[in-house]
Every structure is written in structure tokens, then in C-alpha cells.
Subunit: 529 residues, 2 copies
Amino acid sequence: MSSDPSLTGLSFIGFTRGRVGGRTWRAFDPAAGSELPEPFHTAHADEVDRAAELAAAAAPALAALSGKAKAAFLRALADRVAAATPALAARAMRETALPEARCQGEIGRTVGQLRLFAALVEKGEWVDARIEHADPERKPVPKPDHRSMCRPLGPVAVFCASNFPFAYSVAGGDTASAFAAGCPVVVVAHQAHPGTAEIMAGLVVSAVREVGLPEGTFSMVQGDGRDVGQRLVKHPTLSAVGFTGSRAGGRALMDLAAARPLPIPVYAEMSSVNPVVLLEGALASRGEAVASGMVGSCTLGVGQFCTQPGVLLLVRSAAAEAFIAKLASLFAAAPEGVMLTPGIRRAYAAAVAARSARKGVRVLATGPSSDRSCGAQAALLQVSASDFIADGTLHEEVFGPCSLVVVCDNLAQLHRALESMEGSLTATLHASDAELPQQQALLARLSELAGRVILNGFPTGVEVSHAIVHGGPYPSLSDGRTTSVGSNAIYRFTRLVCYQGFADAALPDELKESNPLGIARLVDGVRRV
Amino acid sequence: MSSDPSLTGLSFIGFTRGRVGGRTWRAFDPAAGSELPEPFHTAHADEVDRAAELAAAAAPALAALSGKAKAAFLRALADRVAAATPALAARAMRETALPEARCQGEIGRTVGQLRLFAALVEKGEWVDARIEHADPERKPVPKPDHRSMCRPLGPVAVFCASNFPFAYSVAGGDTASAFAAGCPVVVVAHQAHPGTAEIMAGLVVSAVREVGLPEGTFSMVQGDGRDVGQRLVKHPTLSAVGFTGSRAGGRALMDLAAARPLPIPVYAEMSSVNPVVLLEGALASRGEAVASGMVGSCTLGVGQFCTQPGVLLLVRSAAAEAFIAKLASLFAAAPEGVMLTPGIRRAYAAAVAARSARKGVRVLATGPSSDRSCGAQAALLQVSASDFIADGTLHEEVFGPCSLVVVCDNLAQLHRALESMEGSLTATLHASDAELPQQQALLARLSELAGRVILNGFPTGVEVSHAIVHGGPYPSLSDGRTTSVGSNAIYRFTRLVCYQGFADAALPDELKESNPLGIARLVDGVRRV
């Protein structure tokens, strides 16, 4: 395969490019089982520092931008990404083995995210403007005029995700929400899809230039190891970190950020088993349909979704037996998929083998296998609830198309199994209309366990909207208060600022008495437009 | 002085009391210079654990409470606190040497905080309800109905503040906002005012019982060392920590919480120098009034306020010289105050002596002194901006009535001095109407440095309102995104939860289609009531 001459393999340090001379590596085509020809160059330490310093220098100008100006930038970027869909998809298909439709769909989602945040900041209401008018007559002391709103936090480091080369990479959700908040961004590209990252970074820089934003608005560093990202997170000008990846990688960044002289927040989306509880009534009335939907959700994208349902809990019954048998037959027929990288494939195979050897675990079904590079077989395992509760390793995420059926003796034991589990992004309940009214405690428990609770549905497929929550207790998110998808994600990169005793001219537009933006505000405790 | 028979000195572990048999200590009367008679008993390790476990057991029931039920509890508590004002103030005066009017005022503020949160949760709109309706016709995939809101985070540990025996102690702002969010609270009393804490804890338990909330809703552990609080923060059931105190103490809790297997957020209000920038025009036109207001703000409460203005920055001019001379004369006349504890008094005297000996620091004035126990003299120091920028120790908070005037050669140097400083709770600018339009960059810098920017005012005196921000970049707050005062403080103890595919009956009232609470919600992206 011939080399792509448009790819230089160099980092983007503001408006300049990185240097050669450091470590190099090549991307890998998982479907072909071979390296791609272009060399990529790990950013030098001074380049990482320069990116962080440029970001700090750009921060005040970005913080002063109007919502309209931020929206214009986000839309300029969205337009470029949409127009570059064929080139982006072609490169990502090579670097990730994700099919063309998936790449195109994910690019569309990325464009949609940018436009969602553009609309949000153009309207301006998201800042939660609050006004308290002065009361000079108040006793014992006069009340001063004071007004608050959300303001940008400062430079943000964004780590690209292996499994979302667009929606959670260079111009993905973390970057879009940080830009929308008014924060400069330094992206750490993922070493598995550096060419996709390079094409996308070129689009971002082009949009920054077109709209006339400062140079430090955006940089992207390439790297084949953890040193680049760790140096960035330690840089004193950084204000926050967005990360999507492994539990070990995310926790390492959390620990690094917490140990800084000035600690900063880390929003790491790490690890989630997404429990699904299947009640007897639901299985009796529509077990086959649930099994069919479940195998789709478990194996979608070769199971490489953060919302893959990895643990299925049910109480022993005839309907449960039939459901398990049906699901096993579907897993046995699930076609082999190609995983994102050889490392992910190796880790998956090792995890399935290790789990299969744990006490009480039975392999119910494995999908067909070939000797394809990065090929991964679906696997359905089963364990009793008592063995599950006793063995913490069974509670860990297996990244790939493997799910574990946990068979409980009764509903009380199912509750105990849930109590023993860690936080997840999602938790799902399948119940019949007759069962549901009795299961409020179960729903409450599921809502403690996860940021999104799904009734009679499947966890894969995450809406990008104002009401979505893609977050949950640790370790699914480092900071379980937040979401990394949807418009609420913007608040991760903001801080509250109050202005006391200011005349209108010195206030941001959002807080001026005349309300020039026409936004809803909390005025003396009452919501007003 | 005779012992108060109503004080047992024991912890409150839910509805039972702690045991004697561990370490004991006595509170100290700083005005009298002697110990108070009653012994207090450090909580045993098993009592700390039991408090945490009771809190975890109570969490689901509290999370299921309606806003009305939470409001009823907060009001029952507010009524009790208001009715107990004389007893509370009498004990606090002995344990803190704060004057009666201050104690009464702070109790009033505490009652007001409880009522503010009661009104907030009774209305219910604070949960930020968001609804996205289903669209079964959407291509390529149907859109599911999904709805999100803020839900309680779980059990919260609250550490009492030495300098706010009511407003930031047992039933203070952290406790009120955690209760309002629906979280159980375990309070760690402050060893300097354990009797005040015991009286207040009795009121909280009485309110919990009256309203019929579960036992674990509230506990309070007594202790004379860090071991009690550290054990609590390490307990696996804890979900968050609120703290008001020293930088070293706050950072220790942050590090402890970050190192847990399951890290939890710490909201620590720690250390703030509250810079005040005084421009020439303001000093020329109203320098005497500013000096008079400033000495009041610097020495209020013996300087033991987190918003005490510790660093005053100005550019050399005739008006500045006159202002400094006036301020020095006022500091020289500022009456001696009695500090909260002998330890705080010793630390203050040592810090003023150490600072006075730093390169380039001149002592402009010290207030009159006696040999009173815990007596503290006001102190006004001066340094050049170049010496200030070069000496990081001058950037640290001195807890007490000491302020440092930083004399700059010009406005550019003043900007450099601000650039060198750490985050604060407040930043203040005094400027004339003629100066202000040219100082947008200065205002922007101040808003990066602090959570509240004050124009032509003084930083002490913090409103309790919807728009207040009592927070700022590290080290003023551990988490500079938030506020520890005002209704926004509730969001520190919440997490987002999304319900997908739920029928109305299974949804919280805030998200039901019929909007039974009549609250404003974001419905399909549009704010509606």
C-alpha cells in the first residue's frame, strides 16, 4: 500500500507543526494485519510545553468571546468535518477496521455534537445567569447588587479514545464542550489512529484561522507512549482533563492530577459493565425478542462500546432457562469481528480465557472463529450469583463481545449481587407491566448504580441531547456527578463567578440589567426572561 | 466556673450516644484564658464506622423524599435553632470569644440558610429537569424518551470550621446543602467548640426524630485529633466531604480522598488572601473613606474571616501615599481582639513576625497590645511589588488582622504581581468612574483569580443568596468550579441521572409528563413550565 503524502505525522503546536527527530511509530491496519506505511512522530517535550503555554496565552481571549462568536467557530468546524467525511472515513477504516457505515455515522454524530454546542452557546442561556438586586434599605446591613454565571475554567487536555476515532477524539464531545465553554484545548492523539487525528486536527486549525481565534485555541500532540500525555497533565497551565479509555490509564491520570501542586479535575470515562436485570415476566412474554436485541447490543461494534451489557442478571425460572438457551444459540452464531488493535484483541482473548477459568464459570457459547488478524469471537458465560458475589474479578469490565449471565436463586440474592457491584454508565431493567409496580426498590438501586437507567431497552446507542447522561459512579466515570455526552457536558469545563457592585457597562452581556441576549435568568430568586 | 450538666461530651451516633473510655479534652475559653470544666470524649473507631454505616443505610430513604418532606425537615431544624439562640450563643461565646451580637447574627444566618434551602427544595425547580420525548419515526434509529435530573450523591462528611461555630459547623451551609440535596450527613465537630456542637447536634437529632427520618440521617463525632476525621473520610460508604479550615488540613483530606480505592470529591475551603487593587483615581477622590472601610474589613472578627483582605495592591502616587498613611494610622488605633484559640493566636503572632522579617517588608503600623490571653494586634505591612513577586511566602494567607500593602511602580507591574498570585475567594477593585472603562483587562484578570469580584466595595460580608459565589481557584477552594455559600452549593452533593424508556408511574415527580410540581423544565430543548 502506498503512503499518503498528505500525512506528515507531525504534531500541531498552535499554527506551527512539530519536529521530526523523536520516537516514531506506524499505525496498524487491524483488518489487513499489517502496519500502514506513514511514520508518525512523538511530540518533543518542549512541543508539549509550548502547546500548553499557547493555550494559556489564548485563554483570556477565548473567555471574552461572545456566544455568537463561539457558535460561529463551532459551525465552521462542523462544516469542515462534514465536508471531509470521505477522507476521514477512509483513513479511520484503515486504522480501526470499523466499517464504513459506522465511520460515516460517527462523523455525522461528531458534526451533530458540534452543532448542538453551537446552538447552546449562541442562545446563551446555559450560563445559568443569576441576579440579586441591591437593597440599600436592608437591615442590619444593606444588600449589595451581585450577579453570577458560569465562566470558562481554562486550558483543557483531551485524550482521544481508541474506540471512537471521531465522536470521542480530536473534535469529539470533550473538545466540543470545552470549546463551547470558552476553553482552549490541547488534544493528545491516540496512537492507534494518528492519521485520522492528523486529518481532523488540520480541520480544527483551519477553522481556528478562518474565524480569527488566537493560535493557542487548539493544539494536538502525537505520541506512542504515556509520557506525552503525562507531561501535558502535569503542566501548570492546565485546568482540566478529559479522557476516554482504560481504567488503569484513567486512574493514572487521576492520581497524577490529584498530586499536582494545584490539583485539577479529571473527567475520565473508564470502565463499565452495564448490568441488565431480566425479570421473569418480561422473559416469559417476550424472551426471544429480548434475546435477539441483547445479542445485538452485546456484540455491536465487536463489543467495543462503553455501554456494552457485560453482566446479565436473572432469577432461575423456566422462562430464564429458555432465554439463556436462546441467547446462547445467538452468541454461537454471532459473526467474528475485527477488533481495534492487536493489543485490544490480545487483552480480550486473555480476559475471556481468565474469566472462563474462574470458579463456577461455565462457557455457554462462543462464536465462530477464523485466524483473522485481530479477530474476536463473541462469548457468553454463566455463573451463579453466589460465585459472582464472591469473586471480584467477575465484576470487572471485559472490553469486547463477552457477556456474563448471573443466575440468582431469588430476587433477594439478585439485590445482593447488585449491591456488590461497582458503578456503571448504564443499568437496564426488563420487566413486564405487571412486575414493574413492585420493583421501585430495584429501580432505585439501579439509579444509584448508574447514570442512565433504561427500562425495557438496550444500553448501546447513546443519544446526544440535553437530557442524556453518559456518566455514573466510579469507575465508570472518575467524577460521577457529570456526563461526558450531551449539552450538560459543558459544565465540566466551567466555574462560577460572581460580580458584586458592578455597573452594567462592566458586566458580561448575560448579566446586564437590560438582558440584551433575552435569556431566562434567575432574578431575585424568580426565573424570568 | 461550674460545669454545664446538660453537656455529656459524647458523640451522636444516629439516635444513640457515644461511649466514654477514649481520649478526652476540654474546651478553652480564649477570653478568660482558661479551660472550661466539661470533658469531651473522642469518638471510638467503631463509632465512626457505625455513623458511616447508618448514613449509608439511610441514603435510599432520604433520596426518595419529596422536596416538601425535605423542606419540612429543614424548617423543623431552623425553628429549633432559632428557639435555642440564647443557649447556643452563650456556649459559643465561651468557646470562641466571639461577641454576643456576632454569635446571634451568625445563628440568624444559619437559620436563614436552612430556610433558603427549604424554599429551594420545596419548589423543586433546582433539580434541572430535562425531558426529551421519543421520536419513533426518526431515521436511522428511533429516538427513545429520556429524562434527566439531579439526584443525591450519598453520605457526606462535614468538618466544622473553627471561625464559624454556626454558619459553617454542625448545621451550617455544608450540612444544609447536603440535606437539601437528599444526602445523610456525618459531622466532625471542631475541637475548639465541642459544647456548641453538642447543643446543635441535639437539635438536629430532635428534628430528624420529629419529622420521622431514618436514624442515619445525621450523626456527629467528637474528636481532639485528625484520626476521627481521617477514618471517616476513608470509610467506603462516604460519597463526598465538606471542609472549612487550613490549607494543610484541607489538602490532607483531598489527598486522602483521592487515594481511596473509590475516590470521592472534597469541597475544602482553605486559604485566601483576597487581593484588593486600589487605583489612583479612587484613592484621590475618596481615599479616606476607602481607608476607613478597609481597616474595618481587615480587622473584622479579629481578621478571622476567609474573605479578610490580606493583600492591597496600588501604584505609587501622592494619593497612594496619603491613603497608606491614613490606613496605617487606623491600623495603629485598631483595638486588640481576642482570637479563637491559643493555637490560632500563636500561629498569627509567628506569621506576622516571620513576614515582617522577609526581605523588603516594612511594618507600617501595629495596633495596641495588652497581655490578654489570645490577644492579637492588627498589623499593616508594606513591600515593593518586585520583592512581593520574588517571595512566594508573602502570597500565603496570614489568618488574622494582618494586611500587606504591595506598592507597584506602574500598572504593568501590578498586573505582574496579580499574575504571580494564587486563587482567592474574592478580588476587589477600587476605581473611579473615569478609570473603569480602561480597566477591562484588569477586571478580567481579577475574575480569573477569584470566584467573586467586587467593585468599589469590601470583601467581608458574604450574602447568602442564589447568586453568591463563595469559591475560587485553588487553594481558596479545593474545587474551584463550585461555591460553598448560597443555593448553588447544593449541586456539590448531586449527580445527574437519566431515565430512559420509563412510563410516568415509575418516574420521579419532577420528570412526570404532567409536571405535577409545576416547575420550569427543559423540554426538547425549550424551557417550559
